[in-house]
């Protein structure tokens, strides 16, 4: 039982980045949930569509007949044949719509629709590292990034920054902390105010946080522009005069203006051309070294993530499914989802590409509205067994500093290929954790 306890402990506290020395995380996320309530919707059970049409038609006939009879009784029914036809058809149409809605009310069922964008995520980010967060669109990676910065309402859970729980701060206290926590946006076209000059865009946070004013502010803006590789001459220009890559540099300069400690980079290179992507990645890397920054680098581009990150967290439908060092994730992924994800990345080498055996996943990512129960990935997983539909797999340390959420593997049997079919060595631990939690 001791290994199980150790595993439960490991889930709560991610291990230190450097072996032996336990470092305090800069940002610690504990059991974070971000749910969006889309309200209640009445839905028809599949196969009841025909019943609804029959009911609506009957309702429409009855309603139409009643109205026409009333109209005749009170003398509002037109005399001409074509006008009668027109009025009757019109009344029938409206009656059909009304009875259709009524039918849904009677034979339908209320379903509360919740988008579980982030669903119980625990993660530590250590000072000076780049943590890559990767996943398909709709998996909640951007929501997680924004929730850390408190740009979204957290449903439950805690986000600690240097030991202080950000989710409990008042908005005034949070404003003080905002200086240390910055965001770089994906869309370099939408995230800059088109009516402000570059100087104003980059300088605005200096005034907001009362860091510098006037001459001093101008000097700092010039400095920042040089840091990100933009000429000082551009200071009076407007965003539309710049290309995507240059705009991204402006966004980076603005984020840097307040001397942040931690930056969430939300798909910072996705909208850029290949040759410009490399420039921006190198810029971010250089800034990290020079200014001792810590990044949460969010991207769907696995090649970019591999290049910039020290550690990588893989997310699927609101949950973390694997966390490990970047090299480990790519060379030795444990989760079937991670394996498929990495195998899907096309390699720019025709010879290797021809020789490669690719794992092609069936189907699409399920909707995050009322996602599948048990393991979220079970609908697409080639290794699915019945238990996967019931048990929510916890993130367990399978190998040292390598976490994965899959009941079909365990520290004793980490290779899913070698696990006997139908067996689930991680099941006991998962059950123990489910009971403990």
């Amino acid at each position: 039982m001791s290994t199980q306890e150790a595993n439960i402990d490991a889930v709560q506290h991610m291990p230190p980045l450097i072996d032996g020395k336990r470092e305090e995380p800069l940002v610690a996320i504990r059991d974070l949930f971000v749910h969006f309530d889309l309200g209640v919707k009445r839905e028809l059970a599949p196969g009841k569509g025909r019943l609804r049409i029959i009911l609506s038609t009957i309702g429409a006939c009855v309603g139409c007949a009643v109205l026409v009879l009333l109209a005749i009784r009170f003398g509002y029914y037109p005399a001409a044949g074509w006008a009668r036809l027109l009025v009757t058809a019109f009344v029938f149409g409206i009656a059909f719509q009304i009875s259709s809605a009524l039918a849904l009310l009677v034979i339908g069922k209320s379903v509360r629709r919740t988008v579980k964008a982030v669903d119980g995520v625990s993660l530590d980010i250590y000072p000076g590292e780049t943590l890559g967060l990767v996943g398909e669109s709709g998996c909640g990676k951007s929501t997680l990034g924004r929730a850390i910065l408190r740009l979204l309402k957290i449903t439950s859970g805690e986000v600690f920054y240097r030991g202080r729980d950000l989710s409990k701060l008042s908005s005034r206290e949070m404003r003080q902390h905002r200086r240390h926590l910055q965001l770089i946006f994906q869309d370099p076209y939408g995230s800059l105010n088109p009516r402000m000059t570059v100087g104003q865009i980059v300088g605005e946070p200096l005034e907001t946080f009362r860091i510098a004013r006037g001459r001093e502010a101008e000097r700092r803006v010039q400095e920042l522009m040089e840091t990100v590789g933009l000429s000082k001459r551009f200071i009076k220009r407007y965003p539309h005069e710049f290309s995507g890559g240059q705009r991204q540099r402006i966004g980076i300069a603005r984020a840097l203006s307040v001397d942040p400690v931690f930056i969430v980079a939300d798909e910072p290179i996705s909208a850029l051309d290949v040759s410009i992507q490399a420039q921006v990645m190198n810029l971010l890397e250089r800034l990290r070294r020079e200014k001792n920054l810590t990044y949460l680098f969010i991207s769907h581009d696995l090649r970019a993530i591999r290049h910039v990150s020290d550690r990588v967290a893989v997310m699927y439908l609101g949950k973390l499914v694997e966390v490990a060092a970047a090299k480990t994730i790519y060379d030795d992924p444990l989760m079937p989802y991670t394996k498929a994800l990495i195998s899907a990345v096309p390699v720019p080498d025709p010879v290797a590409e021809a020789a490669r055996q690719r794992i092609v996943l069936e189907g699409d990512v399920p909707s995050p509205i009322n996602p599948p129960g048990g393991c979220r990935f079970h609908t697409r997983c080639p290794y699915m067994i019945p238990a996967c539909q019931e048990i929510v797999p916890p993130l367990v340390e399978i190998k040292p500093n390598h976490f994965a959420a899959c009941i079909r593997i365990s520290p004793e049997e980490p290779d899913i290929e070698k696990v006997t079919s139908g067996m689930a060595p991680g099941l006991a631990v998962a059950k123990a954790i489910a009971e403990a939690g």
């Binding site: 398909e136 669109s137 290309s243 890559g245 240059q246 051309d273 290949v274 040759s275 410009i276 992507q277 490399a278 420039q279 990645m281 190198n282 890397e285 769907h300 696995l302 090649r303 970019a304 591999r306 290049h307 970047a326 790519y330 498929a340 994800l341 990495i342 195998s343 899907a344 990345v345 096309p346 390699v347 720019p348 080498d349 025709p350 010879v351 590409e353 021809a354 490669r356 690719r358 092609v360 996943l361 699409d364 990512v365």
Partner: protein, 341 residues
């Protein structure tokens, strides 16, 4: 006249210019290539390099004005598409040459059931009756791997996910068994796992039907696994043109080399990523010499002064560079060195 030696498409010196207030933009400037039956040609380049305009020129969908196909010949099965009347082109477009675009949502009519949209093509081009067209549409949806095709055919585009919509687009494109399929960034809007599905699908369908494909992409990884031949475009020009394997193994152009090096290699250890300095050029105001010269590492005085020649390196390998041969030999040497590792 064109020869009909197994080439589905022969493009000769295609030039498409856009006349704007800002000057003439030479979006495609002198492109020549041949495409054999069953082969796949890849066109890569950054945004604004002219790869999509090439595709639109071939199928004569350039908005005019401001666009104009200034010169060139596009022989499709021996017939010059640029000389045909609008009506004749329409009978080829959609039937013998089909297109798949990047954004499936904006290429499908959101107000029409997909059954209607799929049936329209075959009713128009193959003269199917409603019933035949419907059966054919269901068969096509099954071919591209849409589950429950018989039920889903009466759905509207918004009821499908992005990957499924792209499958519908492919089903529509292939429903008349075209001889040429032009896919313009077909997977750019999709997730990697869905991208893998779609690429696999195009590969399979190509093998089964023998269709020739032009695949336009900005992703070198995508074209590496999919194409037989490759054209690298920059500022409207074909900077390099070669069989895919040869181009990746021994690039003969500094731009291609730079592009290949600026893609992070997952198998490689972390280090500084190679970056091409500067920005893609403004195509309306190109510098007098080589358009890549301001960003090029090995640019010399001549590059800024004179437009580079189109150098033939091997039988099928061409490169637009003053120093094409040197670059080619360098990468041949470097290539064998990396292989020894």
């Amino acid at each position: 006249m064109s020869t009909n030696n197994g080439n589905v498409l022969e493009v000769k010196d295609l030039r498409t210019y856009f006349h704007t207030e800002d000057g003439t933009v030479k979006a495609v400037d002198g492109l020549t290539f041949n495409l054999k039956r069953g082969e796949t040609l890849g066109i890569v380049g950054e945004s604004g390099s002219g790869k999509s305009v090439t595709n639109l020129s071939i199928i004569r969908l350039i908005p005019s004005p401001p666009g104009e196909i200034v010169s060139g010949e596009v022989y499709f099965r021996g017939q010059d598409l640029l000389k045909l009347s609008e009506r004749e082109v329409r009978s080829i477009r959609g039937r013998r040459i089909a297109m798949v675009f990047q954004d499936p949502m904006s290429s499908l009519n959101p107000f029409m059931k997909i059954s209607r949209q799929l049936m329209e093509t075959t009713e128009l081009h193959l003269g199917h009756t409603k019933r035949q067209a419907r059966e054919h549409a269901i068969k096509m949806l099954e071919t591209v791997g849409i589950p429950d095709a018989r039920e889903r055919i009466d759905n509207y585009p918004h009821e499908f996910s992005g990957g499924m919509r792209q499958r519908v687009m492919i089903a529509m494109a292939l429903s008349c068994e075209p001889e040429l399929l032009i896919a313009d960034e077909p997977t750019t809007a999709l997730d990697v796992t869905i991208q893998a599905q779609i690429l696999e699908l195009i590969k399979t369908l190509k093998r089964v039907t023998g269709t020739s494909v032009i695949l336009i992409s900005h992703d070198l990884g995508v074209v590496a696994g999919m194409t037989d031949q490759l054209i690298v475009m920059y500022a409207g020009k074909a900077f390099e043109q070669a069989p895919t394997r040869e181009l990746f193994a021994t690039p003969g152009n500094p731009y291609t080399k730079g592009l290949l090096r600026s893609v992070p290699d997952p198998t490689d250890e972390q280090g500084k990523l190679y970056q091409i300095p500067g920005l893609p050029p403004d195509v309306a105001h190109l510098p007098p010499g080589c358009p890549f010269a301001p960003r090029c590492e090995r640019a010399e005085e001549i590059c800024h002064r004179e437009f580079p020649p189109f150098v033939q390196l091997t039988a099928e390998h061409h490169s637009l560079c003053h120093f094409a041969r040197e670059v080619f030999e360098e990468s041949a040497g470097g290539g064998s060195r990396t292989q020894q590792h």
